[in-house]
């Protein structure tokens, strides 16, 4: 029986016109549709595969505003068994360090053997939350897993590190972040969509987790954004059609920029 908590994030659609709230430089979550971060779908998929290959339960956990319930629902439709949504106005604007506190406290409240994350969010994209949560839980983290299997109580992971590909073996509780190299994530089936409606979703506040509002939120963050600036659009470049001399023209351009 392997109990897996998958932490997921509700993010603004990366194909939308993402921007910042000019009032406080936080990510604008109003004007762009949100969804379950694509990179977290791989984590849900891997958790489902581990459970399907043996025996266990998958609980999906998110921290976010009311709309973040959509991310939990999508994971339930894919096949997760239960959901937890931590929602509290005081959490808005939290940095990665505060977010990791909320996640860690929520995970401690759940029964689990493994905690899965996507490799990074598609909005903030720091990729440090899995490690921060592990640090808070006093657990090892195996990040950037590209293959995961559970054999009895041994978890075997292949990870593509900066300079080497490593085989890792671990026993005991563990935090894992998974990459898109683990394989395609499934689409919810009609049956899955119907079944998700009956699955339990717990809603927790900071008080439920014993967290003081002064430990989280924009005002208590340990870093702050001073300004956000949209990158000026790239000025239209010169496009030529190859008429037998495309390569020469390419080199002439490179030479004009002193690359050749």
């Amino acid at each position: 029986m392997t109990k897996i908590v998958v932490a997921v994030k509700y993010v603004p659609d990366a194909t939308g016109d993402r921007t910042f709230d000019p009032a406080d430089n936080t990510v604008d979550r109003e004007n762009v549709d949100g969804l379950l971060s694509e990179l977290d779908e791989y984590a849900v998929e891997q958790a489902l595969q581990v459970v399907e290959a043996g025996d266990g339960e998958v609980t999906v956990l998110t921290v976010g505003p009311a709309d973040a319930a959509d991310a939990v629902r999508k994971a339930l439709q894919m096949g997760a068994d239960a959901g937890v949504h931590v929602e509290d106005d005081a959490i808005a604007g939290s940095d990665a360090i505060a977010t990791s506190l909320v996640l860690a406290k929520a995970i401690e409240k759940l029964e689990y053997d493994l905690v899965f994350f996507g490799m990074a969010s598609t909005d903030g994209g720091m990729g440090v939350v899995p490690t921060l949560v592990a640090e808070r839980l006093g657990l090892p983290a195996v990040t950037y897993a590209s293959e995961i299997s559970v054999d009895g109580d041994v978890v075997k992971i292949r990870r593509d590190g900066d300079a080497a590909t490593q085989q890792i073996e671990a026993t005991g509780k563990l935090v894992v972040s998974v990459t898109d190299q683990t394989g395609e994530a499934r689409y919810p089936s009609f049956k899955g969509i119907m079944a998700a409606k009956k699955k339990p979703v717990d809603e927790w506040s900071l008080a439920d987790l014993g967290i003081d509002a002064a430990e989280v939120g924009l005002d208590n963050a340990s870093s702050k954004v001073d300004s956000t600036t949209a990158r000026p659009p790239r000025t239209a470049g010169e496009i030529v059609t190859d008429e037998g001399d495309g390569g020469i023209k390419l080199v002439e351009f490179l030479a004009s920029k002193k690359f050749v």
């Binding site: 993402r18 590909t165 490593q166 073996e169 963050a221 496009i239 390569g247 020469i248």
Partner: protein, 315 residues
Amino acid sequence: MSEVLVLIDAAAGKVTKPSLELLTIARRIGEPSAVVFGEADTAVLAEYGAAKIYSYADSVYDEFLVAPKAEALAALVAEKSPVAVLAPSSAEGKEIAARVALKSGAGLITDAVDVAVDGGTITTTQSVFAGNFTVAAQVTKGAPVIAVKPNAAAPEAAPAAGAVEAVSFDVTDAAKQVKIVASEPRVSTGRPELTEAAIVVSGGRGTGGDFSEVEALADVLGAAVGASRAAVDSGWKPHTFQVGQTGKVVSPQLYVANGISGAIQHRAGMQTSKTIVAVNKDEEAPIFELVDFGVVGDLKTVLPQATEEITKRKG
């Protein structure tokens, strides 16, 4: 003078270029002290400004993942009270930075593309939302822990003492829970590192799986070779070559995209490149919206012609 701890990355003793960039950036803040796990060329560290070099030689740092290094570095931070800690914004560097920040009660910034000191305040610049926004930020609690991306500064020599101090540290059992049972170093391609290269030449679906024309052009330009997700998913190149949101994010002086349509996944990994050039058969390909110069044509004929022309010009 205020001490700045700089986490050094070295491959088989050779200090990486991003590490020299970190030492250069650290001098804007204070006096750099290099922190080295394993072997590193101390003469080079001294040449680039390391006043001190804290050296951790224990094999424990190789046998496990980042936890022992993070414990040791956090203990050093507690002992030395530096004004800042800089780390490479690599997968490992970011993980160590994150754990050190949490252990020291300090704020954390990753993926910085620049670091400046303005009236005693350390400010950083990051590129976010697939490079569509630039963000200026600062740490507001504790000594800032900042992970800095490659190419954030040009390495400048500034010879310093480079006094080596061997440090022994007792890593707790908690940091030794996950063992690396096998490790296969990435085979060197003989080309520059993708994230560090001044020029990157990439291939996508349009190569049809044959990267020979892309590689030949890369070699005459002294460039690194990259690949789109489509090319990696097709098994044509390993994931380590992937440029994009889930691969490497690069920001070279010149990026040459060949047979790559320019999906958001890919743009997220390259659109902050200084000059962008594309070759694609499809004149409607979105990559052409980004380019400074584009050729609508078959890379199988355009690239060999370009490679030959460059070779000729080099004489």
